[in-house]
Symmetry: C2
Subunit: 406 residues, 2 copies
């Protein structure tokens, strides 16, 4: 008997017919003799409807209340699925964040899971009950409802799998698995059957929307095997797992892009100790995630500092950085939100020289100017003008021959 | 400085515009220097939408999951009102049942409040925060979400007022207060400025929809002064309070009706000890409330037993009673759901003879047949054919001269 965690996204529970479809999948797993924990998102569109209500309620709405509001979306789907399962003759029980207890920090709208209590869930699972857990939500130490940010249900699923030492965590979604790149841009994108945690992490961070990066971090940390698969087909999908020999043969596994980028440049920053900290501390205090940072070589004691943030954070970032720039004596702040990031990812990169150079030359041949570069052991990212995104993805997918099975 | 509990029903929070209207009323109270606890229902129509989802999910849906589902309605309105209040510059905080903690028994869909913890609320009130509490919901000892049944938000409001020893509990609704009878039926129905707890209780039980009976019981028990008033006007409404001299002058205060009645007759029940208990115990075990019970005089060791239940319980009652009837050896079970109950209510009744007789003769003059009668110290109820409901109400309102101010 295995313990299986299955997570279904918003399109898989968009209405009662689809919830019944989910119920049938869950029952199949249960009939195979396994214990099943189901994690659900809100019905597709529901979270956006609730966000609109919040935006109408107050211009600068309170984020504690926002979390209380939007967490109702998952509360609806889990109670409905539990009803449907019981109606089909299977014992089932819904669990909200505060009932499991999924404990988080107090960073409303993007809280991090601190711990998951497994006692209540285990008690029900041992009785043969299918546990249906609300994704995306948790509770802080003062019993405030918190939410984990977009895609947070993936993280809920992996955290539950880790806490329960589940045998596998299956993420059901509206795509077939993880592709070498977005099939919507590249018609010859290829489905990957396996991918390492690190590659998946870089792909998720670099803009592939298939899994929330935090969920991959957790899966890696607790060694949870994660399958990404379609909730509408019976295909095997993509296994996200530890690195293995087979993977090492691929130099580059995938090409990703992220249009949710804005580039901010602080001009003529005095080049002395403590300045960078003075600039970036206010951003982290406001939970603004800075992605890439580049600092030019110092010239006459001054330097230019460029970094990227999510477009939704541009307004607040500009306000905070302009204030900080004045204080440290920088000249001015420039914002460009017509940029995108394209990345190549692969565990094999580390042992192959010339991968980055090949990327730069492929982009250059199409006349695409590179504004920023950042590299890790298994990733090279370039910030380019937003309008070249699709072209860059196609060029890179071709240049590294990703359409071919290795 | 007074502590005021204000409850707003579904029509008062039906959309954001109306929620803003509520916010302005709340702020007015707060600006008068008072501490304010606001209790909200779900947006009008929302509870019904959720009930429909439950009915589609499973024919015989699970009531624990049902409570989890429909309690989202109030979760949405309280978070929105707290956002709106904060947006208007006033400190506010939403509280769900499990956050206050409003502890109830485990009777899902019609749970009773066992206790209300006041510490968390007091802490916020003392800081000047407006507390916005989800009505209708509570939590049982195992952290399951429970709901209090239709109109349960009234009970939430009174229970909070009692726990906090509030100076007053105001129930805002879409009518102006408590009338001598339904103004929709009787154009000369008169608004009552005061009514005693006992009369209000009998009126609520007898079908007046303005307050949930349980809320009146609680108000009486803890001596909470309750104002029923319109959320769209600035009228004083009706004060529900302890009996006073002035009230005693009125013989009959009001006429009510209740169409949510079904009559069940068990034919040829053996007339021996324990039989009634055997018949009614299964009903109470299934939380079915039996209203009136009449047993005919025994004839040759057999009797007919007639009782009424809410129409929604007819199906289950029939099933349970037919089973019990077989076991005790009764002949058969008959169901009539085309009945209604009309009642006259008044604290003065007890000291005036002939009130019941006057009621019976008024109905008889219109040819309305009385099927069942029940009386209390301050109420006489008759079960009649459903089609005569309006006629009976008008006749009784006239017969007791209720259009005139006493």
């Amino acid at each position: 008997m295995a313990l299986v965690v299955q997570k279904y996204g918003g399109t898989s529970v968009a209405n009662l017919e689809k919830i019944e479809n989910v119920a049938r999948r869950v029952i199949k797993e249960r009939q195979a003799g396994n214990q099943v924990v189901v994690v659900l998102s809100a019905m597709a569109g529901e979270t956006n409807r609730l966000i609109e209500l919040a935006q109408q309620a107050a211009e600068d709405y309170d984020i504690r209340e926002y979390d209380t509001l939007i967490s109702t979306g998952e509360q609806v789907t889990v109670s409905l699925l539990a009803m449907v399962l019981k109606g089909m003759g299977y014992p089932a029980r819904s669990f909200l964040g505060f009932q499991v207890r999924i404990m988080t920090d107090q960073a409303h709208t993007q809280a991090r899971i601190l711990s998951v209590e497994d006692a209540a869930l285990r008690r029900e699972l041992e009785k043969g009950v299918i546990a249906v857990v609300a994704g995306f939500q948790g509770v802080d130490k003062d019993n405030n409802i918190t939410t984990l940010g977009r895609g947070g249900s993936d993280t809920s699923a992996v955290a539950l799998a880790a806490a329960l030492q589940a045998d596998v965590c299956e993420i059901y979604t509206d795509v077939d698995g993880v592709y070498t790149t977005d099939p919507g841009i590249c018609s010859n994108a290829r489905l990957l059957t396996r991918i390492s945690y690190d590659e998946m992490l870089e792909m998720a961070r670099a803009g592939a929307k298939v899994l929330q990066p935090r969920s991959v971090e957790l899966a890696k940390k607790y060694d949870v095997p994660v399958y990404v698969k379609s909730s509408f087909k019976d295909d095997v999908g993509t296994l996200v797992t530890k690195e293995d020999k087979e993977m090492e043969r691929e130099v580059v596994s995938g090409v990703t892009y992220d249009r949710d980028q804005a580039k901010i440049t602080v001009i003529r920053v005095p080049d002395k100790a403590g300045v960078a900290s003075r600039l970036f501390t206010p951003l982290s205090e406001h939970n603004i995630v800075v992605d890439m940072i580049i600092q030019n070589a110092s010239l006459e004691g001054y330097t230019d500092l460029t970094f990227t943030v999510s477009r939704k954070d541009v307004k607040e970032t500009k306000r905070l950085i302009e204030e900080a720039a004045r204080e440290v004596g920088a000249a001015s702040v420039e914002v460009d939100d017509q940029v995108a990031k394209v990345s190549i990812i692969g565990v094999g990169m580390i042992s192959h020289s010339g991968v980055a150079a090949k990327m730069f030359s492929a982009l250059a041949q199409e006349g695409i100017n590179i504004m920023m570069i950042s590299t890790s052991e298994i990733k090279v990212s370039c910030v380019i003008q937003s309008k070249y995104t699709e072209l860059a993805v196609m060029v890179l997918h071709d240049a590294f021959g990703l359409e071919k099975t290795p």
